[in-house]
């Protein structure tokens, strides 16, 4: 008999709780007994309202915030086992915070992207390779790399900042609202870069976003949070087929899903778990073909 290999999750969150400003009138429970796991080679989306605890959660993955209770396991080991080593965790779990372009500081884009790898103590050649590779993921060319980051457009700045985290080659890449405030073309180029990174490295990618349409388009697996708790998890088919539950907790659902749900309610025989325009087109064409 061959031994059964149990596949370990990349990140496991075990009974994690966190309270902000404990003991003051501003006390808020940010996370309440959270359990979940994050897998490699997959884009996991975290959905929820502002204040649902998702921003606190993502800052726990790389040890910026330490849980009051519970454990965060990376490859099965508690990241707070030895608090002095938390710096190493930050190289393995890269975090792109909201509006990351406000952290750019170097004279050139190139130097800014190299900041993380330099802190890792890598040698010059390796740093150079990583800078050009990661600039490539997000679609920045040599021309932009030599510029001052402050001469780039808003969308380019954002991409440079994201490349700066990718250049550490993290095994887990966490992005908090990576496309917020960008126009549709800007959003698309950010997400394309993220997908390229995942495909090339096999990393576990975690995206937090308010845009249901982006989440439906790019995420393989979804975690829905509400009131400091995990409300629902599952692959996107499962989550979006429960769209009425999402609406109940006040979240939007993709327009297309809304159309299909309304059609179902009107007695038309179509699937509710449709969240892309292409799938909806296919399903409806079939329906019309059937009618005629």
């Amino acid at each position: 008999m061959t031994p059964v290999r149990i596949k370990m999750s990349k990140i496991t969150v075990e009974n994690v709780s966190y309270v902000y400003s404990a003991g003051t009138p501003f006390e808020v429970k940010a996370l309440d007994d959270i359990n979940l796991s994050i897998e490699e080679n997959r884009i996991t989306g975290i959905i929820g309202h502002t204040g649902s605890g998702k921003s606190t959660l993502v800052q726990m993955f790389n040890g910026l915030v330490r849980p009051d209770e519970g454990r965060i396991l990376l490859d099965g080991a508690d990241i707070w086992e030895n608090p002095k080593e938390i710096g190493k965790v930050r190289f393995k779990v890269g975090l792109v915070m909201q509006y990351p372009e406000y952290q750019l500081f170097e004279e050139t884009v190139k130097a800014d992207i190299a900041f993380g790898p330099k802190n890792m103590g890598l040698d010059e050649d390796e740093i150079k390779n990583r800078v050009s590779e990661c600039a490539g993921f997000v679609g920045l060319g040599q021309n932009e790399l030599d510029k001052s980051p402050f001469d780039l457009s808003g969308g380019q700045k954002r991409r440079a900042a994201i490349a700066g985290v990718m250049a550490m080659k993290p095994e887990v890449l966490v992005l908090d609202e990576p496309a917020a405030g960008l126009d549709p073309a800007g959003r698309a180029s950010i997400f394309d870069g993220i997908v390229k990174y995942k495909n090339s490295t096999g990393a576990a990618v975690i995206i937090v976003s308010h845009s249901m349409e982006d989440m439906a388009k790019y995420c393989d697996y979804l975690i829905v949070m509400a009131d400091a708790k995990v409300f629902m998890t599952g692959d996107r088919d499962t989550v979006f087929s429960n769209s009425s539950q999402l609406e109940n907790i006040g979240l939007d659902i993709p327009q297309i899903t809304k159309v299909m749900t309304l059609l179902c309610e009107a007695g038309v025989n179509v699937s509710k778990s449709i969240y892309t325009v292409e799938d909806a087109e296919r399903a409806l064409l079939k329906l019309f073909g059937g009618v005629r």
């Binding site: 400003s21 003051t24 501003f26 800052q59 790389n62 910026l64 710096g87 930050r90 190289f91 890269g94 975090l95 792109v96 915070m97 990351p100 406000y102 952290q103 750019l104 500081f105 900041f115 993380g116 802190n119 890792m120 402050f150 700066g164 985290v165 550490m168």
Partner: protein
Amino acid sequence: MKGIVLGQYYPADSVIHRLDPRIKIILALIYIVCSFLCRNIFSFVLLFMSSIVLILVSRIPLKIVFRSLRAIIFIMLFTAVLNVFWTKGEPENLLVSWKFINIYTEGIYNAVFIVVRIVSMIIGSSIFMTYTTTPIQLTDGIERLLSPLKKLHVPVHEFAMMMTIALRFIPIIVEETQKIMSAQKARGADFSSGSLMKRAKALVPVLIPLFISAFRRAGDLATAMTCRCYRGGKGRTKMTVLKCRARDYVMLAVSAAFTAAVVVINIYSFGYTM
């Protein structure tokens, strides 16, 4: 970080909280002057008692008052010790004499007086100003007290506007600093180890984005203010008008009586005088 409280304002409902900020600034000044007028044990006892009365009337918890005094405990001890060793009194009042150290009764008195003076001064001025008055009320009070200076072309309004904007943006900048520090930490920046030089250098990736952002905010704010028809203090009116009420005049009268009492006790009294 939403819990950040500016200054030390303590929200409570007391007579002192409701006083006109201008009056409170004047009262604080009078109180400081009084604490310097005190010369003998009787006036200092009166001063100390008045501080306690102020704490009770303002409904500021003792705990909070002590916390602010703790911050200056070393200064107080230091001045007390200096007074004990340096005051030269009458020869018959010599308490201890050892090698070159001479301690007189006067020195002990002085040390106690000085400590009482500092403590009362701190309690009095902070109860009238920081604990019971919001920073914005204080700014407003200062602007109006100083407004006669406008005639001498002193930019009183501009100064007050700067204070207001600073107060508005301090919490934002504090929050932003933490955000940028977290972002750089996520890229492996280390702010807490190494030599002083190394730590100072590690702050560059925080300070540069912080400055850039502060300038951007300043620019945005200037545009927004222009769009809202701001053109300096000229022709500007105010929604809130400060008005002195009966309680303000009563407090002024009380403080005048207090000052008189201190002066009288200083003149007609006996015992050690500073």
